[in-house]
């Protein structure tokens, strides 16, 4: 079981558009510190849940892993190849190995392309097989994701399908190229509640069948707990805690993880909720706080937390957290 993906010191800063007046008055550029020096790896065959709120950088991380966005610096090594350095035709060819399932099934499909063709494009863009073979594979893929008989779906337009069905098309399109790695960015957030589990089950089945590794990006901890094997918690561009899900959700170390876990609404009126509320709200990623990013809000913060930035340390077997005062 090696690592399929190794990310080292990954940084992505987005320049901030300033008003004309600001440009005249200050020469200083400001940046959104979307992803601020993170390092992690994903084991082959694992499902890593990248969990965080808005501004955490989880979506940007996902996109960086697929080189949909150019990293500012750092390396992203996929099966020995540093994709951060790939360009042009080489990158295009490399895309066969990794695919993405987007959040919004409606926006992920061109409204003017029939569903069958949309899937087939993946094959034709990569020059896989003959046209007949491509059609065959597309039909098989449609049925594999539960859209059977394929005759009912191949010629449809996205708007003729339900949200759940559209998401299956997106999944089919991602998998028809037989990739090794799939990044799923909030794949069920825009699907009806009663259908979400079905999409998740499908993704899990397909994982076994196609021998996939998933990076599952979400803000929904309960869903992450259901489907993922490992968890990485992100806050303001940093990874604050990582480990197997039983560890991170069962014995959380970082105060932010604790706050997240205690905030989730539980669908059980008898559940006793002891909420650990951090002060204030998430600060802007343009000017992140000094030292530990969470310190202004942390109920356990002390002087050192504002001065130095804690690094990820293995505090329990396989379980890392970046905190000077972890909740052991």
């Amino acid at each position: 079981m090696g690592n399929i993906l190794e990310v080292t010191n990954l940084i992505k800063y987005f320049p901030v558009e300033k008003s004309f007046l600001d440009k005249l008055l200050t020469s200083q550029k400001s940046y959104v510190h979307a992803v601020d020096d993170i390092s992690f790896s994903i084991n082959r065959g694992d499902i890593l849940g990248l969990v965080g709120e808005s501004g955490s950088g989880k979506s940007t991380t996902g996109r960086l892993c697929l080189k949909l966005t150019e990293p500012t610096s750092g390396s992203i090594v996929f099966e020995g190849v540093d994709i951060a350095k790939l360009r042009g035709e080489k990158l295009r060819r490399f895309r066969r190995n990794m695919q993405m399932v987007f959040q919004d099934p409606t926006a992920s499909l061109s409204p003017r392309i029939r569903v069958g063709d949309a899937i087939k494009h993946a094959l034709s863009f990569q020059g896989v097989g003959t046209p007949t073979q491509r059609t065959e594979r597309t039909r098989a893929m449609l049925e594999r994701v539960g859209l059977e008989p394929w005759t009912n779906f191949y010629d449809r337009f996205p708007h003729e399908l339900s949200g759940g069905q559209r998401q299956r098309v997106v999944i089919a399109r991602a998998l028809v190229l037989n990739p090794k790695f799939v990044v799923a960015d909030e794949p069920i957030a825009m699907v009806d509640v009663s259908v979400r589990a079905q999409i998740l089950e499908l993704m899990l089945e397909l994982k076994k069948e196609f021998d996939l590794t998933y990076l599952f990006i979400t803000h929904d901890l309960a869903m992450a707990n259901y489907v993922c094997q490992s968890i990485a918690i992100m806050y303001l561009g940093k990874i604050v805690e990582t480990g197997p899900k039983e560890e991170v959700f069962g014995k959380p170390l970082h105060p932010y993880t604790l706050a997240l876990l205690s905030s989730i609404p539980v669908p059980d009126p008898k559940a006793e909720l002891k909420r650990i509320m951090p002060r204030g709200e998430i600060p802007s990623p343009i000017n992140p706080p000094s030292g530990c990013r969470f310190h202004p809000r942390c109920p356990y913060a002390q002087a050192i937390c504002a001065e130095r930035e804690p690094q990820l340390e293995e505090l329990r077997p396989n379980h890392q957290a970046a905190c000077f005062f972890p909740r052991m």
Binding site: V193, S194, Q198, H219, N225, S263, P265, V266, P267
Partner: protein, 319 residues
Amino acid sequence: MPLLDIQSLVVEYHTVRANVKAVDRVSLSMEKGRTLGLVGESGCGKSTLGLSTVRLVPPPGKIVRGHITLDGIDVVNCPDEEIRRVRGKRVGYIFQDPMTSLNPVKKIGDHFVEIIQTHEPEVTEEDALKRGKDMLERLGILPERIGDFPHQFSGGMRQRVMIGLALVLGPDLLIADEPTTSLDVIVEAQIIELLKELKESLGLTLILITHNIGIVAETADRVAVMYAGRIAELGETYSLFEKPLHPYTQALLNSVPNITKKGQVLSWIPGAPPDLAEPPVGCLYHPRCAYAFDRCKKEEPLLLRHDDSEVACHLYDKR
């Protein structure tokens, strides 16, 4: 006498294709001081139901039949000035999206002044601003921020402002439509705690419209589950979660992950909600129901009492 009483309400949307019954013969009543969770998935009609209580259903929607009595006032038929007085003063409404519900070119203070002076024209601007500041403080926002613009607030704070605007005139009833949907996890918890606290301290009657079962479990005394424009089940929160009656309620509860439950196996509901322009015959849920039998395909079930709950399902209709 209940604060809000809805009888056999029917709300239709007149579209090019067909007349769609977004709300179909819904009857519901709210006692003062209680909290109702109105739960359902997208398109079930819960938002439309909420909007009808203050006669704000947007065209091409229209209330076609039924009665809504709010504190003695006939919401459906009363004259325009009367319903305008009701909105804001008797009923506070929190709309779905705090991003677009606030006027970006008006300061928060101006929002408060406008809403107060519309209903109480004798109040001076100074007094109105004072009330606004008091409200902000109560909601955990620094009162000085009354002079700020909406874009200067984060999502969670904007939602608090919305709650403040809804409550500043001291209404008895607060209707919140998906108040936390666009918010982050921790902020969501903060807003829910805030609503719970305000409910207690102000003695509010609260209708919480949402698809999030979790927050309903936490805040509501009673839950109404809607499906395709009808109420499928209505009951006390504890009983509904403990022993859900309607197959849809059961399936819905089984499809929501509970992080505190170990080894949970989630299920789902096959198919999709019906096309309300061409609804199926009989029970609207029967095509997806695991327990459907003959009668379900022919006859629409009525909402009937069963123990302490109400449920619209032939499984419980022994007639």
